[in-house]
Amino acid sequence: MHEPHQHITRPVYDTQLFGARRLYYRYPDKTLALSDINIDIAEGERIALVGQNGSGKTTLVKQLCGLLSPSSGEVFYKEKPLEGEHLEKSRLKIGMLFQDPDDQLFGHTLLEDTAFGPRNQGLSRQDADHAALDALKRVSLIDKAYKAPHNLSFGQKKRAALAGLLAMQPDVLFLDEPTANLDPRQEQVFLDLLKDYSGTLICISHDLIFLYELCNRAVVLDKGRIHHDYTMSELVSQKQSLRMHGLDFSFRLVINDSIPEKTNTTLKSSSLEIINNNQLVAFRDYQYRYPDGTLALSNIDFTICENEKISIVGENGAGKTTLLSCLLGLLEGNGDFYFAGTLVKPRQRKALWQQIGMVFQDCADQLFCPSVKEEIEFGLVELGCSRTESEKRIKEVLALVHMEGYEERVPLHLSGGERKRLALACVLAMNPKLLILDEPTAGLDPQGEELLLSILSNLDATLLLVSHDIFFIRELTKRTIVMHKGRIIEDMPIKAFLEDERLGSLNGLSYSYRDKSSSTIRRLQHEHEHRHIHKHLHIQPQIHADTAHFDLYEHTHDHSHHFTHSHPGEEKEHDHAPHRYHDHNHPEHDGENNS
């Protein structure tokens, strides 16, 4: 591991807000979670708190919020130790946005929940309601003020949770994975809201592109210690350091030119005709209504062939999850649904699980056994596999997902990435004909994402990917189905989809800020110094005896020097073009007399 350092070349701020000195924290089971933390946070700073899963980010934030007390050391807020009465008062000025908005929305209605903080700040009911309505207006939820939180969509819940904090007018906001599981449109809304916030911001996220857009300082945690404290630009430009901390997201920046060429804009009719021979799934004029009568899916018509790699995209609430539930046989709609050429009737519907496997968005929903081995065995027992066969398959899939030796581990105690791979292993062990992945990258750190990508890239199965992650869609699939308001509006090759900006804006899949940031980061990662002999042209003042004049004299010569240049490409050989002309300072020539 490289040496930790705290190289801070960031703007100087006047007022210190937080300070931690020799901070240590141990969990009740004596595990050391934070070790020798020393940090100063000034008013107005925007800090990205990054590190692998389990590096201590959330624990540090809880310390700074006063939700946990240090085992030793001290935390200061506004130059006073964060304890006692000062802690009680400070909490009302420190906002903390939790990863799961359901943890934070405990009110009966949005208004009541949003007014909770202001009421605790001592505001009267009228004033608190006023502050709450104001905050709800800022997050565009004023029209849902009296709605119960459980009736909101995930994106709305996230914004409602933020409104609860904004209503308190906090000096500082702590954000834990603010954009996790949001579709791009909701993500953009959230980003705009946070950019508008004028106070101090400390954000935990694995999404470094989002952090690059939002923050200017980066603190890297590793095994409970601060390993780096520098600017955001420095963080993203240092690939080696990112890789050391499992944060290297550079694989996302590689421009993949191997996307299949656009053949036709819409595959709908043509694909149906071509694939009759090896079609695995076919929906014909399928629709589904929720028990309350809402039409969730209508006019669903699509086909999946064997060994095809397909993605389904669409905004939150477009009907993707409902379609998957129908595909899995959990829900039954009206219309024709064929699997492997057979019309799926109630009897076949109950047996679909033997052919279709799905990795859920939150893999905790499908892990409930006390050990990894039992978890994988669960499906195999239902399939009727013998003990020998089960043992063999467990070994195979654990090797496939790089989890050899994990058999006796408790799934609940695994990291997010490990759990995701375990969920994948459970499904793969059952040899499904169709593998469905619902938001596979949700909650994963970059290292986990990269590993998952490499595993999925090598899988030889029919794949249906549901995701907002355009990078994964581009890397793993060749065809995209676009859903909007319960209907399939496009079925097209991936290249055509990526080129179609109209679909991006329609479905909230536009990642304009991401594209811009990615491009900047890519350039930053390739800016570095070189020393080499080269030919160059330069201009200098002329001195003749007592006369100095500035007739510009141009000449070319060979010499070595430093310069910074940028070039595209990912660890590719590149030409430094020694004969190139550069504009640069040339101090050693200033004293030369040329006569």
């Binding site: 939790f98 359901d102 943890d103 405990f106 009966h108 909770f116 308190m168 699980w353 929903d365």
Partner: protein
Amino acid sequence: MLDITNIKLPLWQLPVFVLIPLAVFALAVFFLKRFAYKRSIPTEERDWSVPPIADAIYDSVINRWDVRCKIVTILAFSFAIASLKHLTPALFAIGISSLVLLISRTSFTKALLRLLAIAGFISMFLIVMPFSVPVHSNDTVIIFGKMNWLVFNLRGLLLAATIAAKAVAITLLMEPLLSTAPLPVTLHGLSKLGVPEMAGQMVLLSYRYLHVFRHEARRMSSGMQVRGFRKHTNIQTLRAVANFLGMLLVRSFERTERVFDAMRARGYKGRFPEPAELHLKTSDLLITALWLAAGSALIIFDRIICQG
């Protein structure tokens, strides 16, 4: 020697007395459920920028009534109904409850759904009691064919009908009690009446998080189903269900800790802010007195007039 009136009917009439009414009742419940369920689905999204209970349509005497008086009165009246012994006053009680339902302008459909929820319980009484009450003097019993061991006691039917009427009357009052004020205000009223504040907070949070846990349980159940889990009567099913419940408990416990952290982070120190200021007016007391008088009148009618 017991003085019992026996009515002998042919055996084929047993289904007429039991099965046909049961089938009619089941059909009625089925169709009413469908009707109520369809009616309960909002045809269009309501305006959530205004409080539902503040809508003009909900502005009734019961809405404006002090929540403490409302709780005390309705609970006392419910106990009065529960103490009735005769069918006629129980039917009067249904009349009063219906009148309150009408005055409170609460949803008739929701009240119907509540009634349908207790339909099974009521039907069991109506079927079982006529055949199971002990035969007393002056009872009238129906004997089908030669089945002397299975007598249909009309006193039992009357008793079951009385219980059913009382249950209906009390159930009809639940809408005016619970839907004429937001839940936090009702719980605030309870705490003002001496119920520990913590109990109210727990009910409020339970109400909010029951939905979350239900969704979690449903997702986990789907996770098991897509891996082939089907319930059987074997040890494997028992183990899987135990694991499922254990995991649900662990997740719920972890969530409660996170919710508590979130509450503390927003200044919670053991007390929720008061959702409303309660002011007792003379009119509140007057309504309480009138209603309790009606309850007393029912008891007098039941105990003195009907008994006599």
